[in-house]
């Protein structure tokens, strides 16, 4: 072996060590300077869930539009997005980097249940806000006393499951419900609360089939659910598996009344599942949403959606405006801007969490009309309203009024 090489290592390693620039920490609360507020979060820019990257992109576009109009209290919002490839170990590393090196004011809009779970303990011990975690797990709101520095945003999976259960109990007589669910917290949350919503009505869950995220398809699960004699099918699955469920059910010529969870309920996904209108199982599907659907003709002249399209076109060039994940990003960014405005000239981390625990915001232009974002007096779920909708001839049609799971 060549020994002189180690000398070269030593020199080059010293060079490599000296290169990365060290950030100087601010004297006041981290991340706040006289000109900017620095926030940061992870998003899967690469890897299996890269499609969700549009959430962060939509949010960034909105912040940039606010910055262009002068920002908040003379400060612009610098939103740093870091890739975690949907790998929680990577999330831990880059969030530490955001907190300890970049010194962000708050960790914001980090995507994924597991990713947020992985960093929650660390952020809470370090008293760093974990603002608007992008996951519907119930724990964000339920365990606010244990983790005061963490708050979620979207309606919880528990609330969603409950709403489907109640709807079935109200509209169906002695329905036999079959459930396809992802074998993790998210799927189990939906299933348990579906049962709670059914209550003591004549309708019952007669079969529930789990699938693993790593599995290839859900064909056998759908066949078993059909064989169980169910006449209602609940799909608690992410988009790929939800589409498969529709395709397999249609091949078996099974036409139950379908409930599809919100994470797979975007018009994009439904259009794919309908196989150009050939798939008859899709028709009549019931789902829920809180966002305005970019494909819905009702919002063609809506000021909120006009703002959405203009902002996306200007600050996220090349982004597909039909992707509803951008709408989610803007909705959450809108609420963040409201919070930061309330903090005034001297924002603190403590003040941010206090503000996040006492939100009363109505008229978010990216949410459905009538939906408000509220927290306070023990309620730690910001968004708890939605609209049931039925897939009719290639588009969503609302059913009844808004539902709400507010308990106060």
């Amino acid at each position: 072996m060549r020994r002189p090489s180690i000398l070269v290592i030593a020199l080059t390693a010293a060079l490599a060590a000296a290169l990365p620039a060290a950030f100087a920490g601010a004297a006041a609360d981290p991340g706040v300077s006289s000109k900017t507020i620095l926030i940061g979060g992870t998003s899967p820019l690469t890897g299996p869930a890269a499609a969700y990257a549009s959430v962060a992109r939509g949010a960034k576009a909105y912040f940039d539009s606010v910055n262009a109009k002068g920002g908040i209290a003379k400060r612009t919002i610098d939103y740093r997005i870091v890739d975690d490839a949907y790998n929680p170990a990577q999330t831990v590393q880059v969030v530490r980097r955001l907190v300890e090196q970049d010194k962000v004011f708050a960790v914001f809009n980090t995507l994924g249940t597991e990713a947020n779970l992985a960093i929650r303990e660390y952020l809470n011990q370090g008293k760093v806000p974990q603002l608007f975690a992008a996951s519907g797990a119930t724990t964000w709101g339920r365990d606010a006393a244990t983790y005061p520095w963490t708050i979620g945003f979207q309606p919880s999976y528990a609330a969603e499951g409950f709403v489907y259960g109640q709807y079935i109990a109200k509209t169906q007589k002695k329905a036999k419900v079959g459930v396809l669910f992802q074998n993790d917290d998210y799927g189990k949350d939906l299933l348990a609360n579906l049962k709670r919503g059914l209550g003591r009505s004549g309708s019952k869950v007669i079969a529930a089939q789990p699938y693993e995220v790593t599995s290839a398809d859900v064909g056998s699960q759908i066949a078993k659910l059909k064989a169980s004699g169910a006449n209602v099918l609940c799909i608690f699955a992410t988009p790929t598996f939800a589409i498969q469920a529709y395709v397999f059910a249609n091949r078996l010529k099974w036409r139950p009344l379908v409930f599809n969870n919100a994470v797979s309920g975007t018009s994009n996904t439904m259009t794919l599942a309908s196989e150009g209108g050939k798939n008859k199982t899709v028709e009549g599907t019931i789902s829920t949403t809180s966002l305005k659907d970019p494909l819905d003709a009702r919002w063609k002249n809506d000021p909120g959606m006009k703002l959405y399209r203009a902002t996306l076109a200007k600050y996220a060039k090349g982004a597909n405006a039909n992707d509803a994940n951008h709408v989610y990003g803007m909705a959450v960014a809108y609420e963040t801007v409201n919070l930061l405005k309330r903090l005034g000239a001297n924002p603190t981390r403590d003040g941010l969490m206090k503000a996040a625990r006492s939100i009363t915001s109505a008229g978010n232009p990216f949410l459905l009309p009538g939906i408000s974002v509220r927290t306070g007096s023990g309620d730690n779920f910001p968004l708890q309203q939605g609209q049931l909708q039925r897939w009719t001839k290639g588009k969503w049609v609302p059913i009844g009024g808004l539902w709400s799971s507010k308990r106060n």
């Binding site: 060549r2 020994r3 090489s5 060590a17 290169l19 990365p20 530490r96 300890e100 779970l117 693993e212």
Partner: protein, 357 residues
């Protein structure tokens, strides 16, 4: 240069490197120490993989799985479980789990080495790839120990040294990040020396003989079965220790912590560092740890033209930059960084051809 002077230079250089590693935290900000700790961790895994792939010629696309075995061994022991019984049911201090993580992964490696004897080249690569693919589902099967998809959270537990407060050791007070750095690098340097000792002697010659020609090796009296399984065992043990350290540094494990892509990154790291050499591996480790960040326009990446940095913020952007850098690197350094060192060595000594090993 005679081999003797070469050896002396080698020792001096290694000593210099140790001093550099020891002093580095004084020159970088506290947080960077944690990222360099990960470099040390990847170095351990690369040392192991290079013993198997670089020296013995057996390709492994499954080393992420051996890291997973080590990582879960550490995490499960730290978390404790009443079913274990005895003193360990309440949880084991992080440092003590590392030798066990190495032994468990090493044992699995030895076992895997047996069927691997019948496979060679691409078929072996596929078989090892299969373990990497199967690992996440296997982990979920044993939910009561592994925590299933949610994984095991270690941050803030008493078993983890230095979650948030400083670590007092040898009369000094280290920040949690510096502690992690020194822990990872002291183990990495010891294992570096061990790997060097193993490879320079009889065993190392046997490994190289197996790599260069199995037929020739057998006819010189080398037992293929013995040395191939041995290489698998040592290599997996290194990966296991690296996995254990990875779990401690992340204070969290779940099935996605050790994805299939990790196995591929490790192989990329070995190729970048240089197959069949130890000195370049540090760069392979730096590459694995920092390139994904550079590809997003951070640190060194911020020196890229603004137009490219903008692209890296888009979905899929970092992957493209990563790929382009990798291709360029393979054009410029076809034999990895170790190959570059060899060239420089040849220029200095004036030899046109390397001395036979």
């Amino acid at each position: 240069m005679t081999p003797r002077t070469q050896r002396i230079i080698g020792f001096v250089a290694f000593a210099g490197f140790v001093v550099l590693v020891a002093l580095l935290p004084a020159f970088i900000n506290d947080f960077k120490a944690r990222e360099y700790a990960y470099v040390g961790i990847y170095l351990i895994a690369l040392l192991g993989l290079n013993i198997l792939t670089g020296y013995t010629g057996q390709i492994s696309l499954g080393h992420g799985a051996f890291m997973a075995i080590g990582g879960y061994t550490t995490a499960i022991l730290m978390a404790g479980n009443e079913q274990f019984g005895g003193p360990i049911s309440g949880g084991v201090k992080d440092v003590w789990t590392l030798p066990i993580a190495g032994l468990v992964a090493g044992a699995v490696g030895l076992l895997f080495g047996l069927p691997a004897l019948r496979l060679s080249g691409l078929y072996l690569a596929l078989a090892t790839f299969a373990i990497a693919v199967a690992m996440p589902s296997t982990v979920k099967r044993f939910e009561e120990f592994t925590g299933g998809g949610q994984g095991i959270q270690l941050f803030g537990t008493p078993e983890l040294t230095g979650s948030i407060s400083n670590v007092e050791i040898l009369g000094r007070s280290l920040t949690p990040n510096d502690w992690m750095y020194y822990l990872a690098w002291s183990i990495a340097l010891v294992l570096f020396a061990v790997a060097w000792l193993v490879l320079r002697g009889r065993t190392g010659r046997a490994f190289r003989a197996v790599r260069d020609s199995e037929v020739a090796a057998v006819s010189s009296g080398i037992s293929l079965a013995r040395y191939k399984t041995l290489a698998f065992g040592i290599s997996a043990a290194y990966a296991g220790v690296a996995g254990g350290l990875f779990a401690i540094a992340s204070a969290f494990v779940n099935p996605d912590t050790f994805p299939v892509a990790l196995s591929i990154y490790l192989l990329v790291g070995v190729v970048v560092g240089g197959l069949g050499g130890l000195s370049g591996l540090v760069f392979g480790a730096v590459f694995i740890q920092f390139l994904p960040l550079w590809a997003q326009g951070q640190d060194l990446g911020s020196l890229l033209p603004g137009r490219i940095v903008e692209e890296t913020q888009k979905p899929g952007g970092p992957a493209i930059v990563y790929g382009v850098v990798l291709i360029l690197l393979m054009f410029v350094l076809p034999n990895g960084v170790a190959g570059l060192f060899r060239r420089i060595g040849q220029l200095i000594s004036g030899r046109r051809y390397p001395r036979p090993e």
